[in-house]
């Protein structure tokens, strides 16, 4: 088992991701510079948070043209596991590897907090034993407002591609519990095939005793434990 963390100019959670997998979980982890063209033999590629290319043009818009992203695309086509966190989620959406887009938070504020999240019914590939569990993970973003057209949203819901939703302490999906205005309180999704994951919350900032929670560990383990199951779209 080996994890690769992609570093772009402006990535700033690369070390968090490295330590969370290498130390928090204890799997061999390596850094890959965005100018590299090969991934090598890896079992999970993580695209970390930050401000790749200064968020110029749109968050994630430039990073998708980095040389390594061609290899990441091919790896995705082969069914390789990918996790994008925060800016990594934005990059995956910009690259067309995940549907939808992330725009400015509806409150217009940068949101730095530890919201409650409801683990959703994406049972085939993600955390299938803990459906409905409420966890807490930190967020820190100005552009986490998930948007997709009605047809796309309908597909996400029908195919059970939503991993996490912002909720209150009791697990209610209220407007108040939604920190950025995302449609249907969406905090994280996967692709139809079930090998690409994207989320705004940071499991990589929730694995040490001094972190706001340690709920990142089960999330990262759930991603690592994912066996590719090709979902038949309804």
């Amino acid at each position: 088992m080996k994890v690769a963390v992609i570093q772009f100019p402006g990535s700033n959670c690369d070390q968090d991701v490295y330590h969370s997998f290498a130390r928090g979980i204890g799997v061999p982890t390596e850094m890959i510079w965005h100018k590299d063209e090969q991934l090598g033999e890896v079992d999970l590629v993580v695209i970390p948070g930050g401000f790749s290319y200064g968020d110029y043009l749109r968050c994630g818009a430039i990073a998708r043209f980095s040389p390594i992203m061609k290899a990441v695309g091919e790896y995705a086509d082969r069914g390789g596991l990918i996790l994008g966190i925060c800016n990594g989620f934005q990059i995956l959406c910009e690259a067309g590897l995940l549907p939808g887009a992330l725009i400015r938070n509806n409150c217009l504020e940068y949101r730095c907090m530890t919201p409650h999240l409801l683990i959703q019914d994406s049972t085939d590939t993600f955390n299938r034993n803990k459906i409905g569990q409420i966890i807490r993970l930190p967020i820190g973003h100005g552009e986490g407002n998930y948007r997709i057209d009605d047809e796309g949203l309908d597909r996400l819901e029908r195919n059970e591609q939503i991993l996490l939703r912002y909720c209150d302490e009791q697990g209610n999906l209220t407007e108040e519990a939604n920190p950025n205005g995302s449609v249907n309180n969406i905090a994280g999704i996967r692709n139809e095939r079930g090998n690409i994951f994207g989320m705004m919350p940071h499991p990589d900032r929730a694995f040490e005793r001094f972190h706001p929670s340690m709920d990142g560990l089960p999330v990262m383990k759930a991603v690592l434990a994912t066996k590719e199951t090709v979902t038949v779209p309804i």
């Binding site: 939808g100 887009a101 725009i103 400015r104 938070n105 509806n106 407002n145």
Partner: protein, 80 residues
């Protein structure tokens, strides 16, 4: 020759920036304001041919990089 690309949020996509600026304009006395949308303009200086091939390339560049078709529309024009 200059190409000017206009990128705007799609009509059905919420524009939080536009809404906030709309509130500010209203408080500044803008009476009949209906809606504000905030986009961006991108100016590109070019040399040489700007024929049909160029048009097709510009559409590709706009579609694949300068705008995100999920949330934005674009149009571009040539200027002296």
């Amino acid at each position: 020759m200059k190409v000017i690309v206009f990128v705007t949020p799609k009509k059905n996509v919420l524009d939080p920036q536009g809404a906030a600026v709309g509130h500010a304009l209203t408080s500044l006395g803008f009476k009949n304001l209906k809606d504000v949308r905030i986009g961006k303009t991108i100016e590109i200086e070019v040399d040489g041919e700007t024929g049909p091939d160029f048009s097709a390339s510009m559409d590709k560049f706009c579609h694949e990089l300068l705008s995100n078709p999920v949330i934005e529309d674009y149009r571009w024009e040539l200027a002296e």
